[in-house]
Amino acid sequence: MAEEVILIFGNFAILIPIIPIVASFIVLFIGKYYDKKAHGNLIALIATGGSLILTLLVSGEIIFRLLFDHAHIEEKIVTTWFQVGDVKVEIGVLLDPLSVIVSLMVALIAFLVVVYSRSYMSHEGSPRYYAEINMFAAAMLTLCLSPNFIQLFIGWELMGVCSYLLIGYFYEKEVVPEGQPHPASAAKKAFLTTKIGDIFLFAGIILLYLVTVAASQRYHGIYHPSFDFIEIRHMIEAGVIPGIFDPGLFAFIALLIFGGAVGKSAQFPLHVWLPDAMAGPTTVSCLIHSATMVKAGIFLIARSYFVFEFADSNALLIVALIGGITAIMAGSIALVQTDIKGILAFSTISQLGYMTIGLGVGGMAVAIFHVINHGIFKALLFLSAGSVIHGSGTQDIREMGGLKSHMPDTWKVMAIGSLSLAGFGNGFFSKDAIISHARNHIVHEPLIALVWLSALITAFLTAFYISRMWFLVFPGENRSGHDIHESDGWMTKPLWILAIVSLVLAGIYSVGLIGSTFKIELFSLFNIEHHMVEWLEGGIGPVFDFETGSTSIFVTTIGIALAYLIYYPRAKAQITFPKDEPSFKIDVPEAPSDRITNIQLKVRSFVRGVKASAPGRGVQLILENGYYIDTLYLKLVHLFYEYYCEAMNWIEKNVFDRAVRLTGRIGFALCGFSKWWDDTVIDGLVRLTGRASVALCSLAKATDERIIDQGLIRGSAKGVMKTGRYMSHVQTGVVENYALYSLLGAIAIIIIGLLMAGVFPL
């Protein structure tokens, strides 16, 4: 435990999530009446703004203390929520470098998105929208600041719901463009897919808690299990667990927790929901599905990194491999996207893959570093894309082109964002740090080499697809003829803020890099990567790896150059896409040959040749269908729903219900049978007995002749016929028969009585 740290603003940190959630309800109920024109935007604005200011104060205070006091800050302000048996759940905030850094980014982007929405959602907005956005911000901030797994999980699930509601925001859409899902369907898919991950996380949390049941006994001497991050970490660090549980179990728990991250952070194989999630408003895609919520998975792993560190090393290897697969897969799919948001969506998945790689190769701090940077530039890119869509009225990049002249602000900020993503702005530093970490890690895990390779290839792909997008959107002539206009200040100002933040960050990193390279004390204060590692992992920051840096700059440059050669229109020429070709999606644009340079011509014809070839077509098809993963899942769900559930339903309708009714029917049949039995069989027996007794009487020679006569005659002559008649009668209604019943009963009773009295020995 560190020395006592006295925080001023930190005591109010609990308000950070509370402000937006309260505002969320206020907007919902009075948004219709107050600030009517903007659907209650003002309230949301004030709330997120207040939250941002508070976050700035809190994080500023903490970062200041970290930088200058070198204090180890881990401040938990909690109160008991409830307790039942051993289970004690607390609620409150945990202030440490990780939580404040991520919160700061979340609060910033949330605020900017709300500002941006004022204009962007002026027609389609509603109080519901702002309520949900605020609710989301509150949930994400709750998650970031949560001191234990339960609170984290609550924030986590609440985000899922907000995401669900916001993806389905345009639920009343009647028709959707072909190939795109209906918002309601997309929302459902997103929620359910992430839910699959969530249950693994849920299981992981509970198993970890159960581990602490025994561990706490050793640690505290009493049973004091906990969901608390710090508490569990202390237990693990104190070494009380090794004797009880082996790292294999921990690897299992770690992978369960990672399962949650796979869902939320859209890692392979649960990434399928994220592209569909773009059905929501662009602001939502920006805030939730690229900048913040999808980072929650990365944040979660960083938060519980002590589990991964303690666990068997295979756990982290799997994390890294999943990250590698995701990165390269999504990057390659992004190549063929024509929807501007689709490109950015796959790009997000791919970048999340990077972060996962970072986590998997032991670079938790650099992963978070990339979270921050990616948050900034991806928010910038998405908001710019929103501006583009808003201005051009379409999402299809084939219908764009030439926007540069119409949108003076947007093209600039988008260029900054694209460069950053490609690896030239602030994105360079964190991405490079991840790649270099991966490279260093190959020594420990040979398989990481593959991951490293995939990271490098992805760097190339990233540069290529983002350049392709930019080249197709901004330069040249417009291809659709829409009326294009620049967005208003409510939209461009947040863009510029983000762009400037991005540039400033790039500047700071560069200064820090220079500082640490040339050992300049003052400058190295700006080496954020270094600090991140120090704060988050408690170690010494890595030295910048020039080899990796130059390699990645090299592949990035190649990517941009290639894109330039293929897609750059060169002049304000009208270029078209051959729409009749079956796979025109990734086809290169046609343009008058004299307008382009020789080398461009050659490259383009080469690319065309490749694509026209059979393997080329196959690859295209695979990429366009996202490796058929989505199709496979759909098929499976379809099979499950149509066949399995239907089978269950059939069982329900036919087996259980029928069984009950059959029981009833058997019961009734039994009654009928017993009636029949009563009426015919017993009756028959009774008659038989009667006849026997009559015969007995005749043998005794003391009978009335007539009775014998009649009895014998009837008994012999009509016996058979009569029996049949009696059998056919249901109930005779004949009084002698009733007497016969009695006779049988009487005889039986007498026999039983005699036997039981012991008069006759048995």
Binding site: V694, H729, V735, E736
Partner: protein, 103 residues
């Protein structure tokens, strides 16, 4: 002393079962009534015999016989009344024919 009376008891029993058999085998209601009388009278034999052989006061059994005869007569009266009304309604007294109440 029962041993002495046992032959008579046997006869009474036999008579009772003859009556029962008659009751069961008869078709006519009147005949059935007669069979019941037979059964009642078999009990009367018992009473009389036991009074003779066993009873110190000789009284109870014989009183019983008288009571039983009186009751049998009352019963027969009621029974014949009913049979009469049945005959009025159905035109027959064959008990086997009355099967409207069944099921």
């Amino acid at each position: 002393m029962i041993a002495d009376a046992s032959i008579f008891v046997g006869i009474a029993l036999l008579l009772f079962f003859i009556g029962l058999a008659g009751f069961i085998k008869s078709k006519s209601a009147i005949r059935m009534l007669i069979a019941v009388e037979l059964m009642l009278n078999s009990a009367n034999i018992n009473f009389a015999i036991f009074a003779l052989y066993n009873d110190v006061g000789f009284v109870t059994g014989q009183i019983a016989v008288i009571i039983s005869i009186a009751l049998a007569a009352a019963e027969a009266a009621v029974g014949l009344g009913i049979i009469l009304s049945v005959y009025r309604n159905h035109g027959t007294v064959e008990a086997t024919d009355f099967q409207s109440l069944k099921g």
